[in-house]
Structures are given as C-alpha cells and as structure tokens.
Amino acid sequence: MAEFLDLENQDGVRMPWNVVPGTKQEATSCVVPVAAIYTPIKPFPNMPALPYSPLRCRTCRSVLNPFSIVDFAAKIWICPFCFQRNHFPPHYNSISDENLPAELFPQYTTIEYEEKTSSHSSFIPPVFIFVVDTCIIEEEMVFLKSALSQALDLLPDHSLVGLITFGTFVQVHELGFGQIAKTYVFKGSKDVSKDQLLEHMNFFLKKPKPPTGVIAGARDGLSAESIARFLLPASECEFALNSVLEELQKDPWPVPADQRATRCTSTALSIAASLLGACVPGSGARIMAFVGGPSTEGPGAIVSKSLSEPIRSHKDLDKDSAQHFHKAVKFYEGLAKQLVHQGHVLDLFACALDQVGIAELKVAIERTGGLVVLAESFGHSVFKDSLKRVFQSGDHDLGLSSNGIFEINCSKDIKIQGIIGPCASLEKKGPLVSDTVTGQGNTSAWKMCGLNKATSLCLIFENIKKEIPDTTVQSTSNQFYFQFLTYYQHQGGQMRLRVTTLSRRWVAGQGSMQDLIAGFDQEAAAVVMARLVSFKMETEAEFDPIRWLDKALIHICSRFGDYQKDTPSSFSLSPRFSIFPQFVFHLRRSQFVQVFNNSPDETAYFRMILDRENVANSVVMIQPSLISYSFHSGPEPALLDVAAIAADRILLLDSYFTVVIFHGSTIAQWRKAGYHNLPEHQAFSQLLQAPCDDADAIIKERFPVPRLVVCDQHGSQARFLLAKLNPSATYNNEAPIPGGDIIFTDDVSFEVFLDHLQRLAVQ
C-alpha cells in the first residue's frame, strides 16, 4: 500500500493496475480497467518550476522527460512514446551525464515549467461575478448578505468583481456608475443571447459592432470603460457593492400561497456567462451562484411554479417522467459549452431545504470544473465556512487555478477512452483516442476551466495490444509510458505547464498473475469502480449497478482468488485484494449507488465531489472511517460495524460529507452530568476533546466543509452514524448484541455478503 502512496506523492497518480495487463484480452478479464486517478496540480514541495520552455518531441509533441533516452554525445534524445530522435537545441549544448537539466532528473517525473512573464501587460486579474438569488426568506437573506460581505473582504484587491441578482427578473448591477445605483433588468423567462446582451447593455454604443464571430473583450474593441461598468477591482467597488448588498431585498414580486417563487436561475447564469464572455473571454473568471431554491422560470426551470407539482425524484427520472429535466439539462449543456469556450467557471452554492436543481446544473459545473456546495441554509457552517475557504489564503487555500488544458501522451498500444472528472473534452482526435468513450472522451485534450490543487481526474485507458505469441519474452521494452501535460493559469496569474511522465511495466500470459496482483491498488480500484458505476448509472439506461458491481467483484475474486473450485471455504484473497470486497460492499450501500434515500440533487452533488476528489478522500466517501476513543486505549480505528458501538466509547465517523462524533450512552450521561467541567475529571474532558480536535483537523482540510454532527447513542442524530455501519446486528438477530445497538434494516451484513461472494466466486 505504502508504495502506492509514495508514487502518489511523487506524481499525484494512483492506478488500480500498477503493473498493466499486457494484452487487450487480459485487460478485459481483469475487470477493473487500466486507469489512473491523477491530481494535475497537486502541490509538491520539492518540485522545481523551470523558468524555461519545455522541449517537445518533433512528431508527438511530448515533452522531454526522464524516460527519454539521451545520447549525450550526439546531443540527441529519443522520445519514449514515438521513438522519434530529437536534437537538443543549442542552449542544451552543455548537457552531459553530469550536467542534466532538471527535467531529466529521474526523481522529477513531475515537473513544472513556468512561462516567462514576458507579456505582463496582458495579465488579467481573477474575475468573480456573484450571482445571487433573492427569492429567499428574509432570514436567509441576512445570512447570505453577511456571508457575501465577508467574502468580499477576503477578495484580493485587484480581482475584478461583478454582481448579478435574480428572482423573477435578473438584475445586472452596474457597479461602475457613480451617480446612482443602477441595474439592468432582464426578464427571467427569456434567455438572452450574448449578442442581444451586447446590444442591450450598450457595449458597442460608440463603435460599430464587429461583424461576426466571437466577440472577445478588449481585443474586439470593447472599451475598457464599458467593461469597467460591470467588472471593477474589488478595492474600487467595495463601497458600491456593499451598499447594493445592504439594500438587497427579497424579490418583491408576490408569491401566491400555492406557488413557488419565480426564480430564473438559468437566465441569470446565462446572462452572467454572456457578460463574462463579452467582457473577459479567455481569462480566468468564476461565476459564483448562490441559489436558495428551485428554478421555476426560464429554460432551466426544474419544476413548475405550482406547489402541487413536486420536484422530480429519482423515481421520476427513472421513469423519465420529469418533464422539465431534459430541457433543463439541455440548456445547461449549452451553457457549459459556452463557458468552456470562454474558459469560465461556474461555482454553485446551493442552500435550501428543498432541491435547487443541482442535478440539472451538474453538467455545467462539472465541465467547467466549478466548485459546488450544498447546505441546508445560508446560515449553516457548511456554506459559510466553505465560502470562506474559497477565498482564504494560507495553508488551507484551495489553490484555485484556471484556464487549464490537460493533454495526454501515451505509448502506442494504449488508447484513451476518456476522463471521468471535472473537465470538458476539447474533441482533439488522434491516434491514441479510443473508439469507446467513457466520460469526457473522443479526445486527447481537455479543458479544465477551473481546477485546484485537489482536483483529481479519473483517466480511463484501453489496452489494445494483441495477443503476444511468445509469452515468455520479458523484453526490456515491456514498458508503457504515459505523459500528462497540464497547462494552466496559476493562482498568481502566470501560465504554467506541469508535466508528469509515468512508466508502467506490462505483463502478459501465464505467470503474470502474481505481477498483476502485486501491482493492484485496491483503493484506487475501488475509486475507479465508484466513478465508473456513477457514470454508468447516469448515462446508461436500465443500468443495474448492484448487478454490475457484483458481477465485477465475483469476476475478480474468481480470477485473483485462491480457492478450490466449488469449495467456498477454501477461498482466500491476497492481501492486495483483501479489502476490495469490503469496498465494493460499502460502495453498494453508498449514496452513489443507493440513490433512493437521496434526492437527485444530493446524488448529483455527491457524485460531483466523488468525481473530483483524490483517492484517499474518495475512499472515505465509499467506506467511511471510524475511530474509537475510550479510556481503555488511545484512539484506534474501529470496524465500520454496529458492533463498534459501545456505551463507554466515543466514535468519530468521517464519511467525508458528514463528520459524526458519537457519544456512547455512558459517556453521554457523564457529559450531561457535567463531569468534564470538574477538575478531578480532566481525563474525561480530554477524552471528550480528542475526537473534536480530530474532527476539526478533518474539517479544516476539506472542501466543501463537512457537516459536523455531535450526537449521543440512541439520540435522533445517531442515524448519521448508524446509516453507515455494517448492519451486523439488526432486529433479526436473535442473540443480544454487546454494544447494545442494532440497526433497523433488512440490508445484508458484510458477513452474509462475503458468504455469497465466496460461494459464487468458486463456481
């Protein structure tokens, strides 16, 4: 396990198969695809940033890397991907065995090039445009206003800020007009194209409008003044913005008692996108949407205004009876396309008890690499702290970067099916593009409008190597090479190129089994499977995730397990595979697969986070971690099982979205009695404090900030814990349970699951 982590710490990559099944057939039988979870801009403290441009292969454009074969004498390097011989340019003349450029150091398989900031003038500061829902109750409005004004304080002074509010109408605030507060008001029910917007807002009043094509900010003749009407440096518009926020009122249009408020989220977002497209195309800009309820107006409406119509559920989606869904999704696909084209990001902060339409918005958020936060209220810490984190600088900053382009090079027998993760295909076809598409595919390059240091992509590869006749040959060339190029605008504004080059051995034929097993990263595999199953659930009609997962698991077990045929009791798994069934068991029970306890919005939310998180965090989402605290021992990991519950223990459950501190009944009684306040019971006080500290540590690092639940055994909030535990003890159990807690469920427990697995695997 540890070696995989080391690899991750060097390159930001986790692969299920670190030894690659060598042929197409073999890869197929391995069930878990050849894939990689890659965190493109994961920070590495020791990684140098080279102040020069990379050397690229003449034919395949891959970048010089430690795996290149260098002929120092001839000053030639051979590209490991296409075997093209390239001459070093003159400034590499001094290269020698002793004098290597950093990119050839073996430990710098991941390295960054920093573009010379020759054209500093073209540097455009980060742009934030706030899109604020006003169809919310006064109380929420107060919360939201205070959160926003806090956020404004955190904004870098030079960043450009704009404000759009919406409700029944969309109001674009002209912050740069000094004499009077001024807003442009657009009808919520009508989508406004960018051209119309340009016209309506008088952008080209004094000049002829460029005939056709993309109208791109200052380059196309848009004067700086007209841009400055809507986007102002934070330092300049602080007053205007604050006074607008201060005066911001609940949407004044009356809402009949039997109706939902008229909320035109989609139109507002579309206008925001068009405004950015008009003003600052191509430079990093984020639309930050704060939405407090379902969209009921405009092309992206998710439900009608009448309260008699419920908001779509998973059931409606399955039956295809959600009448607004497809139209809305289609609209947001268009919006996503526009944003990707412009290089802008859509972030969503959804705070409502009801759904707001994340399921529909998902496409736009995910393709642009936007952030998403779902909370119950604008007053909730999940929202407030997450928003702060966005702008926070320091250790826990998100490292928001923008305008990324991600490219892949790999050896010729490997093709790329696509990426599951926050990015958008650039439709760059090439020889290494597979016909099979998974996620964003059909390309070898992707746009990542927004990315941060945690953003992780799941790359799905396909091995097309034919059967090799001579299986015994283990030539030196049994290496696959992968090169990941990420070109992005760093937080600081400069453009950077990060290059990660990997080499993985492939094996085939008899005897390759042990190699495959040794290279199997079960955590990464679980995460890849989780992303795959989520993806398939969303895209494949009639897809049965449980069946698919079970089949996959059985298949793997029967292929990699040790057993005698038809003897379940003889079944055993290598340690490399041993927890994989458990991951699958929890994945089957997770929110990613068991959607019916969640709303489509929640599911979309969970999946979006899953699709952007690294392996470690994803694993927590699949199988929460449980730590037990007691007087008997120090904090220790506990089995995620109802049996872990004990009256004299405190449990800390981290299920990623929720962190639960669970006080056993005795602990709870003590606490209620106030023992921890007594000097003689300092130990108890410390015991109480320990999980809180750990929880804080988790919360601090995580985005979105998880919800912290502190509960007692048998309390109502305890459900947050119980739902995640293996139901080894249910009301069906006859024997009394040691921890005294049972879970009211008909779900099978892990033991039963394993029994069945063994039986099926050995058949």
């Binding site: 004499q179 507060a181 657009f186 009808k187 009508k190 807002m201 008088n202 009043l205």
Partner: protein, 1114 residues
C-alpha cells in the same frame, strides 16, 4: 369692472379659499426686475405666495375667487390671486356697458342672447335683438341687432340709434338708418335695407370709404372704417368702376379684397368658373346672361326686395326664443343684399362692404342664464360668451349643449334643415366662480333612484304620478314604482312636495355617490407616472431638464390624498425605472434593456406613495439631466417605454405623463420618418398625403386599447425639434382619454414655462379617473356616435381612463322615431368616475329640450358655436381619411346646405340676389372660411402640425373651438392710451391684414398659441417699453414675456395673463416680424384675407351665395 361680477349673493365660501393652480400671471406679482433676473417664466409661475391662501382647488375645480372683486378697476393686476388660468375671468374684463362705442369697430357677434330684461338704455343692442315679447315697438331695435352692442359703428348703427342710442349719434356722422344698412349683410333680424337704395347701398361702402377717409390711416379708430356706409351711394356709383378697386384696397389692404378689380384680376379665384359677381360689374357691363349668377339676380336687389323696406323694422316681431315661431317671413332674419348690384344694370360692380359683413364680437358683459324659465328650456348664451348659469332644471350649457335648442320632430325635418344634431358634452367643464357648485347626493346603500328598464337616473323630468307612488321615466316612458323610502306626496301642481329640496329633482346636474354596484373594484388612488425621454437629443435641447424641472415643481401640486402614488422612469434606447422606496439610501435605477419584449422590473417599488418618496423624487429629478448628460444614445424607445410604464401601473391604472423629444426609433411601436419619405416621393406622396395623418400601423392602437382597459390615461408632452409622427403617437392619448401637448420647435428658453404650466394644469385641473360615460335620450332619438378622446369597447358606453375639465365629447344623435310636437326630449349624460381622492361618483347631467316640427324654430334655436364645433370635429375626423380638397368641399357644403335650407324654406325674400343668413348662423360662413384656412386643412403645413391640430380638435371644448380657427387679435402698442377702458383685453380686431398697421404691435391668440406681431415701423420707445429692446432686429422669435417697469409692459402682461386665464392655457408666445417666416405664419391667420389657402371673406360669401343660387334654381 367689478361691478357686475360678483353676483349679488354673498360671496361663496370657497371662492376665497380657493387657490387654483397654475398661476399664469406671474409677472404681475413680481417686482418688475424680478423677471429680468429670471429669464424663464418658469419661476415666475410658481405661486410664490398665494395671497388668498388655500392652495387647493376644490375637487371640481371651482373657479378661483373672483379676481375682479379684488383689484380696483384700473389696476392692471387682475390675476395675482388666481394662479389658475381656468375660469372665465373674462367676466370681469368685459365692460357691462359699452362705453366707448365708436372705438369698437368690430361687428358684434350677432345679438348675444341676453335675457330680455328690460332693455336698459345703456345696453341697447343686445337686448334689442331680442325684444321681449311684448315690445313690438322695439322693432327698431331689432334692426340694430347686427351691430351688436354698443358702438356698432357700421350701417347698423344707425338703426341702433333709432332705438335710442342717442348718445352715439354724434359719432356717426351721417348715419341714416335704413338705407345705409342695406348694403351689408344684415345680420339683424330684419329684412334689410334692400329697399330702395339698395343697390346704391351696396356700392356705398367703397365709395364712402374713398370719400370719407381718403388716405386716412386705416386704423385709428377702427370705427371710422365702418362708418363709411353712409356715403352717398350714387356718387359712388359714378365713381365706381375702375377707380373703385384701389379705394377698396386702401381700406382693406391690398390683398384683402381682390374681387373688386375687374375680371382680369379674378380668374384665379375659386369662383372663377363663373364670372365673379364682382368682376362683372366693374366693367359696367351686364353680366353675361348665361352666368348662373347672372344679372338677373343682382338687379333684383334694388327694388325687388320682397319685404317692404322694413324700415323701422317692419317689425321683426319679437324674437324671443321661447316664443312661438314667428311667421315664416319674419323668421327670415338676415338678408345680405351685399351682393346685389345696383338696381341699374349699369352699375356693374356690386361690392360687399368688408366692414359690414358679420364678424364675431365678444359679448361685452356677463349674462345671467337660467337654464329653464317658466318650465321651458331657455336657449343658452353663446359658448364663447361670458355667462353665469343658474341651474333651474336643465344642466348648465357648460356641461352639455345641443346644436339646436329645439329638437326636430322627425328625421326629415332635420335633414331638411341641413344642420347637425349633436350634443357636446363636457362633464367637468369649469363653472363660473359665481355659479353654485354641483350638489352631491347620497342615496346610501340603495344607490340613486333609476328607471328599472333603461336605467336612466332620476332627474327633474321624471314625472311622478299616482300620489307619488310611481314615476314615469322621461327616457323610455316606463312607469316605475317609487322606492318606498323615496316616496313623497305630490303637491297641487303635480310636483313632489320635496322637489325643491332634492337636488336630483330640481337640478340639471347632480352627482350621486356611487354604491358598490358601480364598482368593479375599490376605487384606486390617484397614480401619476412620469416618463421622460433622455435620449441624446432630449438632453441636448434641454427638453429633459425642462421636463424634470417642471415635474419637480408640480410634485407639490399633486392632489395630496394620502394615497397619491407617483412613479418615474426615463428612457432612451432602454427604459430606466427608479426604485423610490424610502428604505433605500438613494433611488435605484432599474434598466429594462429589452425594448422588443418589455416588462416592468419591479412590482411594487416603482410606484410609491408620494408621501414616502418626496425627497427621493426631488433628488432624482434634479440629477436626471446630469446623469445622462454624456449619453450618446440617439435612439428612443417610446412605444416600449409606455408599454413598460403601463405594466407598472396595470394594477391601479392612473395617469401616465410622457415627455417625448424625438421620433420613436426603436423597440415596440418604432416609427420611421415617413414624413421625409413622403417628401422624397412627392408624386405618390401628393395623392396619399392624408395617409401620413393616419397612424402608421395598429401597434400603438392595440396597446392603447389595452391601456384603456386597465384605466391608464396617457398624456404626451412633445418637446421636439423635428418630425415625431404625431399621427401615430397621438393614438395613445386619444384612446386613453389623454392629451397631446406640442412644443415645436422646442426652445429651452421660452418653453419650460409653458411646459410647467401645462403640466401643472394637467394634474391640478378638475378631473376623474376610471370613468365610464353613457348618454341616454328620450324615445325617438338615439345616440349615433361618440367622438372624442376615449376608448369604446361596448357600443353604448365610452371608457375614459381619464377625464378632465378640458375634454369634450361630441355625441351625434339620430332619430329612430318621430317625436311629439310640443313634447320635450331629454338627454342625460351619466359619468361614473373616481375622484382624485379616490371616491366613486356618478355625475349626471340632464337636458330637456322642446320638440318642434317647424323649420324656422330650428333655425331660430340653432346654436352656432356648437354647430361649428361639430363641423370642426367632423372635418378633423375626415382629414386623415380623405383628400384635403374633398374635406374642404364637404365643410363648405355643410355651410351651404343649411343656408340653402333656410333660404329655401324660411326666407321670405325670394330674390335670388340676396344672401340671406339666419340670424343665429350668420357667422357660419366666416367660421367655415376660417376652418378651411386652418392649420388642419391647409396643404402647406407640416404633417405634425396638422396631426396635432386634428388631435387637438378631437377633444376641444365648444368655447375654444371658434378661437382655434378664428383667433382673437388685439392691438397692444396702444394699451396705454385706453386708460378708461375697464376691460383688460383691448377691443378685438378683425382678422384681416387691412387692420394690421406696420406701426403697431398686435397680439393674436387661438387658445393654444399666441403671436405677437411687431410692425416694421414701430416706435422704438414702445419696443423698449414692452420688450426692452430698441429695434425689432434684437428680438428673437422665442421670447419670454417680461414685465418692465412701465405701465405699457404691465398692461401687456395683464392682457396676456388674462388671456391665459380665459383659455386655461399658458399659450406659447412667439414673436413675429415682417419679412421672416414668423411674419408669414402670423399673416396666415388673417383668415379674411385672400390667400393661397383660400378666398377672402367677401369672396367666400359670394361663392356661397352663388352656390345657393345654383342649388335653388336647380
């Protein structure tokens, strides 16, 4: 002057408190140099101090306190206390007694109907015209009539002398009654003079002139001019022929009467087809036999005049209106011998003496008018005169008057008469200050008593029977049960005993408090939404600033109800609303950029109670002009803007006041400069010229109908320098009961004052909202059509989102059955409306008129002002849909037809050589001529001017109709010299250039515009006194009248303010100078002159006469 004004009764309580709004008379109140400091009258007009306190008009616009009572006669300060222009202050101004007889050269307006109180000696003429029944002896006076009042200096005067105006005799040198009078068109009731000397007479005038006043200055006492007729006709004859023409000219001014000169000069005249009657004579030749007007007709005059030389009035018997019809021949009131030639064929040329043909003369004194007397309808005084009404059963003629004061029993009779039958309804007309206010009657829960069948409202003409238990409806004849709690016994006279205590049973006009039954919803508060053009042009011309400043000042004048609501928006190519909610630190501008598909950006806060947003509003209005000063947006989305504003007002309705400066060029209802297209494409443009006077499409009309449906009334103030397509734009106000104000070309210097005053009057005048009006008639008559500014969605009712005291609606009537001779026919106008204070009321005006089957009665009771108003409105309606020539022809034919009918069936004189005019209609030809030459019917006018004219006419009230086409002209250079005249307004001068002296300065006004013409050789001293300049070159055409510290200037200001008050209009002042376009436009108002636009007055009479002859003989 104050003498007759204040009615004897105690002063009405409110008359003092009352401070009506627009103070038209700023200058009077100010220290002289105040003006100098403030070039813009604007400031002046603010009522800086209202001496009389109470700033608010009563809801019904009680007229202001009587000005006259305050100021001493001689003091020029008439106006100060009355900021409001409205009421007829004229009353004061007019001398009750004709003092300076001679000086009033103009002809009197054919016997103003005065009540036949004993004819005081001092007021001979008016009374004379209608001697009391018994006073046969007075026939003489009848004679006088024509020369109205006092001083008629003309031939008629002589007659008046007879009647006892001895005093005047001296003035008139040789005035000999009968003979002299013959030459002219006798407006009097007697058969004229045609007698013996007839022919001579006709020639007389010219001669006379030539002789008597050879080269005399035309002006001086105009009276002089008219005196001539005396002249020895014969000499004239001899003198005649060629020489005569010149003399004429000398008198009348060259262009005026071109007729006289020989035929050669004539050809171009419209009458050219047939040799002009005039043309022939000069030659001394008998007219060619073939000519329709052939000699036969003319010669008749001398001796053939049928009626015996009625000398001392073969006594026109009493012509009281109420009297039984006089014998036919007597009813023939007018004969114009004028055209006649001398008896001898020899004397070819016959002339009409231009000085003696009928002309309007304002009534000189206030008349007390009782609407019914002796249970008979009393014919109302002329609409243009000054009168005080006592409502004794019929409504005041201000509210409703009929074209004929007796109703023809059959449709045939009406057709024969050639007269229109229509009502002119002006439900909110301003009463005279001395009139009693309309009484409000509250019937409580049950609502007003109404006929259960036709829903007619209880009125004095409902007949109670059966001990009062039942009543018969005077409209449908149905017998209703009297509601139990309304029951009252009848007295011996068959009237209810309580009739005199109940206003609804003894007054022609009452107001009922509306019950729930009359409400679709609760009455809405008064809502005022201001919409201001801020496009580049508007900003740069100062129109925006003017509008903002006007609004800012007017805010204080808005009705102060707790619920009065205001809103404001501006627009260029986008629409800008403002959130005025108080909580906001500053107003928030909300821009609606989509002008194709508009919406209102806020539901509530764009319309805010005035009390909550006053400060914001003021601040905003101050900053709007600067806010947009750098705007480069030339486009204007007018249509979209009003639509958006409408959407904001949809829930409440109310008044939308739009300030527009350019052609709406974008958004919904965008218009194109079709005027230019029309010009560029002249060939087709000519044929289709009238199309430009129609709205370009239905977009705005459709919108307007929707506005009306939601009770939004739109007023548009057009402050422009260019074509804005008023024809299209005006559809909106016309359909919503609004009004168009037109400031072209807009001057930032002189127009803001008018803009402010117009706006102020607009919001402060008596008015109502969400109104519905219906007119009911007695069986036999029904309403044919309504015509005015309203929206009509069901055939019976008109919807008036807004109605105010200036709006008149014409209701044409038709027979659907015969009426009983001797019965009465009643008309009732019910107007359901909401007051500015949010009360729902029904104003019911009832008029009951006798029915007659005698044509002569119809002619006798014809109401000229009303009839002419009808013609005017009908012509205005026609203009956009017919070629101009045809409209003119129609107008002329209408005139000819009624005169023909009279000639044919009522006149005793059978001689075809006389033009005979019914007394009541004697001015019809003059007005018709004026109409033909008016802006609307001229070809040379700008399209927008004509459109505006058409639109202006559509809601024009009767008293203002005549002045519009036949403006009032007075001399102002010699105001000083008439110290003792107690009328503020100097005597009126006929509209002929002959009366315009280059040494003089003249003021001409038509109720809307006011032109000051400065002659070429005016004494610089006068110029300096009036305008503070030394020569005409220094004055620009746009002026702001200032008051300098000299009595002449003061008097001029008084005059102007007096006129403003009379017209309820601030009048656009324009200076005109000879030899520049402004001078041309001034002279275009000289309707009696011959001009491109039409014949001279004399020629026109001839034309009419000829047409009648043709028709008679055919």
């Amino acid at each position: 002057m104050a003498a007759n004004v204040p009615p004897p009764g105690a002063p009405r309580p409110n008359s003092n408190n009352f401070v009506p709004p627009p103070n038209y008379n700023p200058s009077a109140q100010r220290p002289p140099d105040y003006l100098a400091e403030n070039l813009q009258n604007l400031n002046l007009n603010r009522p800086p101090s209202m001496p009389n306190s109470a700033p608010r008009p009563s809801p019904y616009g009680q007229p202001p306190p009587f000005p006259s009572s305050a100021p001493p006669p001689g003091v020029p300060v008439a106006s100060p206390p009355f900021p409001r222009p409205g009421p007829p202050p004229g009353v004061l101004a007019r001398p009750s007694m004709p003092l300076s007889g001679p000086s009033q050269a103009t002809l009197p307006p054919g016997g103003a109907p005065l009540r036949p109180t004993g004819p005081p000696v001092g007021q001979p003429s008016p009374f004379v015209s209608r001697p009391p029944p018994g006073s046969l002896p007075s026939p003489m006076s009848g004679y006088v009539t024509p020369g109205c009042g006092p001083p008629s200096s003309g031939p008629f005067q002589s007659s008046s002398l007879l009647s006892g105006q001895v005093a005047q005799r001296p003035l008139q040198p040789g005035a000999r009654p009968m003979p002299l009078s013959s030459p002219m068109i006798a407006t009097g009731q007697f058969v004229p003079p045609s007698s013996g000397p007839g022919g001579l007479m006709s020639n007389g005038p010219p001669n006379f002139t030539s002789g008597a006043i050879p080269g005399a200055p035309r002006f001086p006492p105009i009276g002089n001019v008219q005196q001539p007729p005396l002249g020895p006709p014969q000499t004239a004859m001899s003198a005649m022929a060629p020489p005569r023409a010149p003399t004429m000219h000398s008198h009348l001014g060259g262009s005026v009467v071109s007729a006289p000169p020989g035929p050669p000069t004539q050809p171009a005249s419209p009458f050219s087809a047939a040799p002009s009657p005039f043309s022939a004579p000069p030659q001394g030749m008998p007219p060619p036999p073939g000519s329709p007007y052939g000699s036969p007709s003319w010669p008749l005059q001398p001796g053939q005049v049928a009626p015996p030389p009625p000398i001392p009035g073969s006594a026109q018997p009493p012509r009281m209106f109420g009297m039984p019809p006089p014998p036919p021949n007597q009813s023939m009131t007018t004969i114009s011998p004028a055209i006649g030639q001398t008896g001898a064929p020899v004397a070819g040329s016959t002339k009409i003496d231009p000085n003696q043909i009928p002309r309007p003369l304002p009534g000189s004194s206030v008349v007390l008018h009782e609407t019914r007397q002796g249970n008979q309808a009393n014919p109302p005084p002329p609409a243009t005169s000054d009168y005080i009404v006592k409502d004794t059963g019929n409504c005041s003629p201000r509210y409703m008057r009929c074209t004929i004061n007796q109703i023809p029993c059959t449709a045939d009779l009406l057709t024969t008469s050639g007269m229109p039958l229509a009502l002119l309804v002006q439900p909110f007309a301003l009463p005279h200050p001395s009139e009693e206010p309309i009484q409000v009657v509250d019937f409580g829960e049950s609502g007003p008593v109404r006929c259960s069948r036709c829903k007619g409202y209880i009125n004095p003409f409902m007949k109670f029977i059966d001990q009062g238990r039942r009543f018969i409806c005077n409209f449908c004849g149905f017998t209703d049960e009297t509601p139990r709690d309304y029951h009252c016994n009848l007295g011996p006279d068959g009237r209810r005993r309580d009739a005199d205590e109940r206003p609804e049973l003894c007054r022609g006009t009452v107001e009922f408090v509306a019950t729930k039954e009359f409400m679709v919803r609760d009455p809405m508060p008064a809502v005022y939404f201001f919409l201001i053009d801020v496009s580049m042009n508007a900003i740069q011309t100062g129109a925006t600033a003017a509008a903002c400043s006007a609004i800012n000042q007017v805010i204080a004048d808005l009705p102060e109800g707790p619920l009065t609501i205001v809103g404001i928006a501006t627009f260029d190519s986008t629409i800008h609303f403002y959130n005025l909610k108080r909580a906001l630190q500053q107003p928030l501008m909300l821009i609606v950029p989509d002008v194709q598909d508009v919406y209102t950006p806020l539901q509530t806060d764009v319309l805010v109670p005035l009390s909550e947003c006053r400060q914001h509003l003021e601040l905003l209005l101050e900053s709007i002009p600067t806010m947009f000063q750098n705007s480069k947006t030339a486009e204007s989305a007018f249509g979209a803007a009003i639509k958006a504003a409408f959407l904001a007002m949809k829930t409440t309705g109310g008044k939308l006041l739009v300030f527009q400066s350019v052609l709406p060029s974008t958004g919904i209802g965008a218009l194109s400069a079709r005027e230019a297209e029309g010009r560029a494409n002249i060939s087709s443009g000519e044929k289709e010229a009238h199309k430009l006077l129609q709205p370009v499409d239905k977009t705005l009309k459709t919108m307007a109908i929707e506005f009306a449906e939601y009770q939004v009334c739109v007023d548009i103030f057009i402050t422009t320098q260019s074509y804005v397509d008023i024809a299209s734009i005006s559809v909106v106000p016309r359909t919503t009961g609004g009004q168009v104000y037109y400031y072209y070309p807009f001057s930032a210097l002189s127009d803001p004052a008018k803009l402010y005053n117009d706006l102020r009057w607009n919001v402060t005048r008596p008015q109502g909202f969400e109104a519905v009006m219906r007119v009911r008639c007695s069986q036999g008559i029904q309403v044919q059509e309504y015509c005015g500014n309203f929206c009509r969605r069901v055939p019976t009712d008109v919807d008036l989102p807004g109605i105010d005291c200036d709006k008149t609606i014409m209701v044409t009537l038709k027979h659907d059955d015969k009426l009983q001779d001797g019965s009465e026919c009643a008309f009732q106008c019910a107007l359901l409306y909401t007051t500015v204070y949010g009360q729902r009321r029904i104003r019911v005006t009832t008029l009951s008129l006798p029915c007659t089957s005698m044509l002569t009665n119809l002619f006798r009771s014809a109401d000229l002002d009303t009839q002419f108003t009808c013609f005017l409105k009908q012509a205005a309606n026609e203009i956009p849909s017919s070629p101009l020539l045809r409209v003119r022809e129609q107008v002329t034919n209408l005139c000819i037809n009624s005169l023909l009918s009279y000639r044919k069936f009522c006149a005793t004189v059978s001689s075809s050589g006389q033009l005979i005019l019914p007394e009541a209609l004697k001015l019809l030809p003059l007005y018709t001529l004026a109409l033909i030459k008016s802006t609307g019917l001229r070809t040379d006018g700008r399209i927008d001017d004509r459109s505006f004219w058409i639109n202006y006419v559509s809601s024009l009230s009767t008293p203002l109709a005549v002045p519009l086409v036949y403006p009032r002209m007075v001399a102002i250079h010699d105001l000083d010299s008439k110290e003792d005249n107690d009328s503020i307004i100097p005597p009126v001068i006929p509209l002929s250039s002959e009366h315009v002296n280059e040494k003089g300065i003249y003021l001409l006004e038509n109720g809307e515009d006011c032109f000051i013409y400065i002659g070429n050789s005016v004494d610089p001293d006068i110029l300096r006194k009036l305008f503070g300049v030394n020569s005409t070159d220094e004055v620009s055409t746009q002026i702001v009248l200032q008051q300098y510290d000299n009595s002449l200037s003061k008097k001029l200001n008084d005059v102007v303010n007096e006129i403003r008050r009379q017209r309820c209009n601030y009048l656009r002042l324009k200076l005109c100078k000879k030899g520049d376009p402004s001078g041309m436009s001034f002279f275009s108002y000289m309707v009696e002159d011959q001009s491109q636009g039409g014949p001279s007055y004399v020629e026109f009479l001839v034309h009419i006469h000829r047409q009648i002859q043709v028709k008679m003989s055919s």
